[in-house]
Every structure is written in C-alpha cells, then in structure tokens.
Amino acid sequence: MELQERLNEVFCQVFDDEDIRIAPEMTADDVDGWDSLSHVNLIVAVESTFGIRFTHKEVLTFKNIGDLMNCIAAKVQ
C-alpha cells in the first residue's frame, strides 16, 4: 500500500472521520479536530504504524502533511 494511503488511514482513525482525504499541502487548519492537543496522538499513531521514531526537531518543524510524508519516507527506507 502506498505511503499516502496508509497515512490517510491513520488520519481517519485518529480524528475519527472516514471522509478525510489528505494531500501534501494540507495543514492542521484543513483537518477538523487537528489541534496542538490532538497532534501528539497523530504522531504516536504514525510512529507505531510505520515502526519509526521522530526526533523533537522533526516533529516541531513539520509545516504540512508533505513534510510529514517526506520524513516518514526517509525513515522507512
């Protein structure tokens, strides 16, 4: 399964919304319920799904979903 599709499933699960369709340029403003409090749930879910661990610097400097996808892709390779 492509990375974007797997990540989309994580988003749907974390934000309890089956209709979410993520795109690289999307930010927290574009996803209902994605705020600073729920952000950590997303990060933990992504880490456990892909079997990776983000550094502080990575997590705190993601600007959009594209940055998150690039970081995941670099780590799973």
Binding site: D35, L37, H39, V40, I43, V44, H56, L60, T61
Partner: protein, 483 residues
C-alpha cells in the same frame, strides 16, 4: 514614559519626523536610538544595561549556534544561550521570592540558617525581551530562522520601543524583515495607526481606569465588601485587565503602524471563548503561542509515550511557567496552576464531550455555545481572583463569601469613588467597544467607512471628545507593566 503620558505625545511625533527625514540606511539607527531613549526615560539606569547585555549575549549565541557542528554541539550552545537569558530573568525578578520562601522553609524546619533578604529590582520589559531572545535562539536551532548578522537590526528587533515594555512578543521571522523594508509614506497606514492608538487610549482611560476604581475599591478591602460587590469586583477586574492590556496593545500596534510595521494582534474577543483552550487562542496570543511552541510542545513530545497523561502533565507545567512568568508570587502560581488544571481536565473530558451532549440531546442546540461561553468566562474569572488579590487570605475570603451578606438595593452595588454615573458610563462605553469590534469585522461596514469621509471625521471627532471629557484623570499605569 507610558503611552498615555504627555511625554509620549511629544516623543512620538519627534521620533517620526526624524525617522521620516533620515534615509533608509539610517532609519534603523533612528529607531534604535529612540528605543533606548524611551527605555532610559524610565529612569532606572540598570535597565538599558540589562537590555544591552541580553542583546549582545543572544546575538553571539545566535552566531555560535549557526556555526556549531553536530547535534550535540548545537544543543550545548542552545542551552548555554537559554541559561544566560533565564539567569538574567531570575536575577532581576525572582531572587526576593526565592529568598523569602527559603527563609520561611528554614523557619518551618527550625533550621538555624540565616537567609539574606534580597532587594527587588525594577524589571519593566525584561520578561518580554528575554522571551523574545529565547524564541530567537530556539528558532535558529530548529533552522526555522537564520541568525541576524547585523547587530543593529538585531538590537532593534529586541528593543523596538512600541513593543518593548509590554509586548507583543514578536518572532524574528515576523519582525526583522519588516524592520529592513525601505520606508515609503503610506497615508492609510498613518491614518489607521493614529486611529488605533486613539482607540486604545479610549479603552484605557475611559473604560479600564474607571473599572479599576471599582475593582481596586473591592479588592483593596475585601472584608468590607458585600457578596455581590465581591462578584461584581471580580467581573470589573476581568474587564479592566482586558481593556487595559488590549488598549495598550492597540496603542503599540498603532504606533508601529506609523512606521509601516505590523505587530502581532494579541487579542481576539477572549471572553467569547467557548472553552479554556479557546480562551488561550484569543488572550495574549503572542505569549500563549510562545508557551505553546517552546514549553508545551517539546514537553508533550518528550512525554508522548504516556499518551493523555503526558499531554496533561505538559499542560500543567506549561501553565505553571506561564503563571510564574507574570511575577514571583503564589497568587500567580495558583492562577497558572488553575489554568493548567482546567486544560488537563479538558484533555480527559474531550473524548466524552460529544457523547454527553448527544445523550442530553443538546449537541445541536443554538444555546449550547452561549452556555459554554458563560462557563468558560466564570472559570477564567475564578482564576483572575488569585491573579488580582493582595494576599491569599483575601482570595480564600472571596471564594467563601461571593453570595453572602448581599444586602438590598442598588446602593449596595456601588463602592466608594464609583457612582451611578460611572456605572452608566462603563455600560455605554463597554457596549460601544463591543459594537465597534463587531462592525470592524464586517466588510460592508468597513468599505462604507472608507468611502465616506464625513462618517470617518465624525467618528474621529467623537473619539477625541470622549477622550477629553470622559477619560479618568488618574493616569494609572498599565497592569502588564509589572510583568
């Protein structure tokens, strides 16, 4: 030299004139000299020295941070820069608090240790520029920003006088590029800046200072107040601090706009918030963003394996820091702790919120929003009690007796120095501020305002007359100067 003083009304046009006549290459120098002159006018000789020290150390740490090779070296430089800034803050603001509490602890434990009493320093503005300096270093570490090579521009970023004493706390990426942009006279900016300044002055002298008469009368002698007065005194303080601080912010933003600089808006109708989290997205925005980005998020990520408990703990710590930032007193610590507790509880409550509303059948009620606003406002007011009181004993008294000894009749609502005319004026001016705030967000009203010169000039004159005839004569200082 506060913004509501005659000295400032003379200082500002002179600075603007010199700035306007100077060429683009010299303008940063004009603003820097004006900013240090503005700070020197407080007549506290060590404050400009502290500002210079923080400027030089942060500038050097910024350059070293950029040059350091490897994560470990970068982290060591970052912590060095943060520690040097925190040390300045501790020495300036917190030593008397530590020595007093250490002395108390020694007495409690019957230890024969003499803890020296430490004199408090005047620290106006220090918390603001130190927080800005820390944000600058962290942004360089995260490679969000490059270090500023020009010491003059960097010094101006920390000291720019409209935001020096009370913020907004600006990010380097927002302010530095604006300081370097060549200046061109812009009539709209000039007009808007002056209007915003006058509007801020109206909030301060007509509303905040008048509400302050009521809040001070109640809070300076809580045992003499009736239950209803305690309640109204707390509401009065809630609106006093909002009008005082948002009035100041409007004046700061208005001043900066004269120089074509847009500072961060600190407020967005905070008392219309529908949750405490929402309140912190609307109140002292530049500060809450700082706390969120540099305290809460790193802690939340550090403790992410604890899931919800980690987030709750990060919230409590972040808000305790927020409380302590306001000053070295247990009242501020409790105020921050209460907000931390509200937020931590909301993290656990949030997953059930939707289900509870559904089971009660109120999830689509149009009144739900107003109920949430009412509850949030009262939670915030309860925390304000600890923020404002002169002693913790007073706070406990207010919490015990808000509805007792209520008395009968309107005269029981008024206090010494605040008569029915003041009450009427506060209600009318408050309604006017709320109405103008709503109208200013309406595109059609704004375009009509911009088209009709007569309408604009009528409002300018009304505002000027209100300032002359309705302002209090007390020239009270701004509340957030103390932080």
């Amino acid at each position: 030299m506060p913004f509501n003083s005659l000295h400032y009304f003379i200082f500002l046009p002179i600075v603007y004139l010199v700035f306007y006549l100077a060429g683009d290459r010299a303008r940063w120098g004009v603003l820097l000299a004006a900013s240090f002159g503005f700070y020197c006018a407080l007549k506290v000789p060590y404050l400009p020295v502290v500002l210079t020290l923080v400027t030089l150390t942060t500038y050097c740490f910024g350059i070293w941070l950029h040059k350091a090779q490897g994560t470990r070296a970068k982290l060591a430089v970052l912590w060095g820069g943060i520690a040097s800034n925190v040390l300045v803050l501790v020495l300036m603001k917190y030593l008397p608090f530590f020595s007093e509490n250490l002395g108390g602890l020694c007495r409690l434990l019957s230890l024969q240790v003499e803890v020296p009493t430490v004199r408090a320093f005047v620290a106006i503005g220090v918390s603001y520029f130190v927080f800005q300096a820390i944000s600058y270093l962290i942004d360089i570490y995260f490679e969000v920003e490059e270090p500023e090579p020009h010491l003059g521009y960097f010094a101006l970023y920390l000291s720019f006088f409209p935001k020096l004493l009370q913020g907004p706390i600006e990010r380097a990426g927002d302010l530095l590029p604006q300081l370097k942009t060549p200046y061109r006279f812009d009539y709209d900016n000039m007009r808007y800046g002056m209007l915003l300044f006058a509007w801020g002055l109206f909030k301060k002298v007509v509303l905040a200072d008048r509400l302050g008469i009521y809040a001070d009368a109640v809070y300076n002698d809580v045992h003499a107040a009736t239950g209803l007065q305690l309640l109204l005194g707390t509401y009065a303080y809630a609106f006093q601090i909002f009008m005082d601080f948002s009035g100041y912010t409007d004046m700061a933003l208005g001043t900066a706009r004269l120089f074509n600089i847009n500072l961060t808006q600190n407020f967005n109708s905070p008392y219309l918030a529908t949750s405490v989290a929402d309140f912190w997205r609307r109140w002292h925005i530049s500060f809450s963003r700082w706390i969120l980005d540099y305290i809460f998020k790193p802690l939340q990520m550090q403790w992410r394996d604890w899931r919800t408990w980690g987030t709750a703990a990060a919230l409590v710590v972040a808000f305790l820091v927020s409380g302590i930032w306001h000053g070295a007193s247990w009242g501020f610590v409790i105020w921050g702790g209460l907000h931390g507790l509200y937020m931590a509880c909301s993290v656990f409550y949030k997953p059930y919120q939707k289900k509870i509303y559904q089971s009660l059948g109120i999830q689509k009620s149009r009144y739900l929003k107003y109920w949430q606003m009412l509850v949030t406002f009262h939670l915030v007011c309860f925390a304000w009690v600890f923020f404002r009181v002169n002693s913790l004993g007073d706070a406990l008294y207010i919490c015990r007796f808000p509805f007792e000894r209520a008395g009968r009749g309107l005269h029981n609502v008024l206090v010494h120095g605040f008569d029915t005319e003041d009450a009427r004026l506060v209600l009318i001016a408050g309604a006017l501020v709320a109405l103008c705030g709503t109208l200013a967000r309406n595109e059609r009203v704004l375009s009509a305002w911009n088209r009709h010169g007569a309408l604009r000039w009528l409002s300018y004159n009304a505002l000027l007359l209100a300032l002359i005839f309705l302002g209090t004569k007390s020239q009270a200082s701004f509340i957030y100067f103390n932080f």
